[in-house]
Amino acid sequence: MKESYEDIRKILEQFMNTQTAGQMAKDIRQADALLSAVPAAKTSEETLAAIREKVHCRLAAYRVRNLRIRIEKYVAAVAATILIAVLVGVFFRTHQPTGQNQRPLPLAAASLWNDSFAADNDPVGELTTKVEQLTGQIDTVNQTATQWLEENSGLTVEIENLEKIALNADFWKG
């Protein structure tokens, strides 16, 4: 709100003497009167209508823009939430202590519980045959070794005698 001329004079008096301030305030008042004497041209109704139309168009565009921004923000927020959730999941999977992320296996193979005897018996039969073969081979080796020891029992006695002689002779004492 404009000051009164008296107020203007008072403000001016802070910077200059009373007479100059009074003259300046008077000059301002006269110039204001001069400006008031010339009324400004007014806008035409057509111009105002055109402005209103432009404003309405801009308002509609502004609303659309705001809506788009709001949707973009919403989508970005949702995407960020999903991304964070995925990252957190990945983080916990990779940072679990070893073993915890291993899935426990069943103690027995599921096929053991299979009711089909034919399927179950085949591998067991094969295994039994192999075990019998191996047992036979081991027996054969044992028999051969026993026989060889019986035949060469004299050699063992001779070696033992030589050891006794060497100990009794005290050659090792120097």
């Binding site: 001016l12 006269q30 400006l35 502004y62």
Partner: protein, 181 residues
């Protein structure tokens, strides 16, 4: 319209109500047009600036945070005028012929003698001083508000205003035949 009603109207504008903008245009169009017309001295330019001002208002109204709405709107108007001056200067340099044509059109506009004198005098003032005078006259700015807006001491604003108004009055008192072209 009192300040409470105006605030209510602006709140409606902020909410994007087209009708509220229509009311705001009706309320400020004449004063703002007068401001632009006095400064530019050209009806078409003033109308363009007025249109630009209200379009800008659609985007900027949300940033009005109380205080004097008159001051706020005329500050935007002043900035728009300065921008147009710069653009006009560039345009005139690039399209000298077009500018001359516009000037011819402008001069052919019918005016009363006093108005003609005022336009002639305002055009001869420094743009900064002319804007200052118009701000005070049309926007009802106090010297204190003007000084604050221009970021200068109130004494400086007062002296500039006095110098400008005195020069304006002296120029308007010069008889038409003695006016320099």
């Amino acid at each position: 319209m009192d300040s409470e009603q105006l605030k209510l109207l602006i709140d409606k504008c902020k909410a994007g109500q087209a009708g509220a903008f229509d009311q705001l245009i009706a309320l400020y169009a004449d004063r703002c047009f007068g401001f632009f017309y006095r400064l530019s001295g050209h009806r078409q330019t003033a109308e363009d600036l007025l249109s630009e001002l209200f379009i800008k208002l659609v985007e900027k109204i949300g940033s009005w945070d109380g205080g004097s709405f008159d001051n706020w709107i005329f500050t935007i108007a002043g900035n728009l005028f300065k921008d147009s001056l710069r653009a006009d200067y560039r345009r005139k340099r690039l399209l000298q012929e077009k500018a001359e044509q516009l000037q011819t059109q402008e001069e052919s506009e019918p005016r009363n003698d006093l108005e003609d004198k005022l336009h002639w005098a305002l055009k001869r003032l420094e743009p900064e001083i002319a804007e200052l005078i118009m701000m005070r006259f049309y926007a009802d700015f106090s010297f204190k508000e003007l000084a604050k807006m221009r970021n200068e001491p109130i004494g400086t604003t007062l002296c500039k205003m006095h110098r400008g108004l005195k020069k304006l009055r002296e120029m308007m008192e010069v008889p038409e035949k003695q006016r320099p072209v």
